[in-house]
């Protein structure tokens, strides 16, 4: 093949360009730290990376949902613990008064104590986070009035903690303190029961006090059951959070495997490319210098 200086020049330009572009790609990978910098670098990996990104961001969202749900449930739990303590006192007072009393001062003390405890129960029933009442269901207004009438709803306020998996973040105040809507329809009406107890104590009605004691015991058990239920949900959320965290770690490590540059490999490749490029530059410089003109007089 006949070789002309033009061909040598074209070849040199083409090959130097190829070398530069290979080094440019490596340099981009090293400086960005990413193997795939645009979809055309590797379309199939891009697709995988985007799917991973979606899953990771879904995990983040579910984690954030769980954090909010845990806040709700923890506040609910605190309120339930308070209620449980109050119920202990109610039970104790009722027990003390089980056989009735003839001492007006004792009766008045018990009645006033019970009235206070009932009001405290109502206050706890109106517990809120920000402007949300935890026992009000879907309603956003104070669920219990001073008389203990429940105006919230029995709906459960669900949050998604994994795809298609929802957890209720509230306990219905009506079911808890009033035994369903209307009161007493599903179980013992605690607030109504205390009122009945107060009347029974005032009237020295031993049978009524006895019923009251049974009712209060049952009510305390329901509150304890709700506490256990809330604790169970908290455990479920905590487990889910751990699973999500594990899952996120796995996804991120797969993402890293696909996307992160192996600096050792890139460094070695870059030094290979640089050597080749330097050689190309040096031969180009030498070859393009050669001309018969230098040797003719």
């Amino acid at each position: 093949m006949r070789i002309t200086p033009g061909m040598t020049a074209d070849n040199a330009i083409y090959n130097l360009q190829q070398g530069r572009s290979a080094m440019e790609t490596l340099q981009e990978q090293i400086s960005s730290g990413s193997m795939v910098n645009r979809p055309s670098d590797d379309p199939l990996t891009t697709r995988q990376l985007l799917d991973l990104q979606n899953q990771i961001s879904a995990g983040d969202q579910y984690s954030s949902n769980i954090t909010k749900g845990e806040l709700f449930l923890n506040i609910t739990n605190t309120a339930l613990t308070g209620m449980s303590a109050l119920m202990q006192q109610v039970k104790k007072i009722a027990g003390d008064m089980a056989s009735g009393s003839t001492d007006a001062a004792t009766k008045a003390g018990a009645v006033s104590n019970l009235t206070q405890l009932r009001e405290q129960l109502i206050d706890l029933g109106n517990t809120r986070i920000g402007d949300q009442y935890v026992f009000a269901g879907f309603s956003n207004s104070q669920p219990f009035d001073l008389l203990g009438n429940f105006s919230g709803t029995d709906d459960s306020l669900d949050l998604e903690i994994a795809q298609g998996s929802r957890v209720a973040t509230n306990v219905s105040g009506g079911n808890l303190l009033r035994g369903g809507t209307p009161p007493g329809s599903l179980g013992v009406d605690i607030l109504g029961g205390i009122e009945a107890l107060i009347s029974a104590i005032s009237a020295d009605d031993t049978a009524g006090i006895g019923t009251g004691i049974t009712n209060m015991k049952e009510g305390a058990e329901r509150i304890a059951a709700n506490q256990a239920e809330v604790a169970g949900r908290l455990v479920r959320m905590d487990n889910m959070k751990g699973m999500i965290a594990n899952n996120q770690n796995t996804l991120k490590s797969i993402y890293g495997d696909l996307q992160n540059v192996d600096y050792a490999r890139a460094g070695v490749e870059l030094s290979q490319q640089t050597t080749a490029f330097t050689a190309a530059l040096s031969t180009t410089a030498k070859l393009t210098q050669l001309s018969l003109l230098d040797y003719m007089k």
Binding site: P5, T46, D158, L159
Partner: protein, 483 residues
Amino acid sequence: MGISSIFDIASSGIAAQRLAIEVAGENIANVNTPGYSRQEVVMENRPVGTSNGFALGSGVQIQTVRRSYDGMLQQQIVNSNSTYQQNLARQQALQQIQPSFNELASDGLGKAVDNFFGAWQDLSANPAGSAERQALLSRSQILVDTFRQMNGSLATVARTADNNLVGIGAEVTDHARNLALVNTQILATNSVGGNANELLDQRDLLLQKLSDKIGITSTLASDGTATVTLAGGEQLVSGTRYATLYTRASAAVPPTNNIRLSGLGNPPPANNPALDADVTGTVGGVGNSLGELGGMLQVRDSIVPGYISKLDEMASTLVSAVNAQHSAGYGLDGLTGSNFFAAAGGSAATIALDGGLTAAKIAAGFPSVADPAPTSTGNNANTLKIAALQQTSFAFGTGSATLDGFYNAMVGGVGIDTQGAQNTAAQGAAFLKQLNALRSSNSAVSLDEELTNLTKYQRAFQGSAKVINAATEMLDVVMGLVR
């Protein structure tokens, strides 16, 4: 045979070597001229006569100045140029499109969709919260803006391609005019028996330039003139006549450029859009696969509309799914049946939030047994249903997929298209380089070779001069005899 014939032989030598040196000089001068083919002199001895009973030539003459040229190679270069330039145009457009879809480097539509549904999830934790509602509104606005921005940048790429057609048409016409002129000059040179080597080079170069811009078929007549037909069979250059390739706005809204071809002539008849052939559909070859013009047409007519229609499909699916669920729910104002997105905005270009949408109108509530016509502000049932749409598969033209999945596939598709165009363009460049190397090997000037020739012919010239010197001395000697 006398001494004078020595003068004849020597002077023929001087003349021939001088011409050879001229040709070498021409070659050296044109070492960097694009499209130039090296020329070489072909010498032959002059008719043989008889001198003293011996057959002896009467000197040297130039038979021809030959142009090193391979027609087949030339044709291949023309063809692969067309394909290469088409790929290049396509690659450039795709490289402009790709950044809009580059979800890896920056947050784009995929992230906006994610954030949109994330805002619904956040709202589910506090359905009455005005901060959450405001966040949802602004994230929705970002989603709408992202759709429109992507549509806009795609449309810009198509519009740029469309605008480029005007310039390409003018360039093609310019080359056609020059080719017709070169054809005329070739005929003129032929008619006086001249050697049209340089003109033939110019002709080939013009054919090559034409093939950059559009797909052409060229035929060379025995007189050296070229005839050029377009991919649709219409004549662009015929002998000394050529046609004008020009653009006219179409009747579409907004108008795009149609490509028309005038009649042949020198100069060609004035553009007559009513009568001139509309070659838009054929000029780029089958599937607009030829020339820069074909590339631009492909970008304008298939690549960009393809992506836009996918974006539209995604936008309309999102709008109708979210609206359907949203209008089933209840806002803080207790009203139901309101749209979230404007019902008319079923494409990436027109997607918008519903005109009446306010923070209070966002329908978070969904009827429940205890809350049949949601008046409770804490009702979050509808937010969960809308948030669940993110994981719902919809029937798209390419199959069933979630919104995220459909978009990710679209990004992958853009990547594959861009990578494909880059690869074909790179292969085309390598192939063309190989062809050009072959052409150079055959036709390009080698300085070393020309310098050697120069020395060779210079020495021969000196030799011939020396012969004249000898003949003069011989003549002097003869003259001295008679004195």
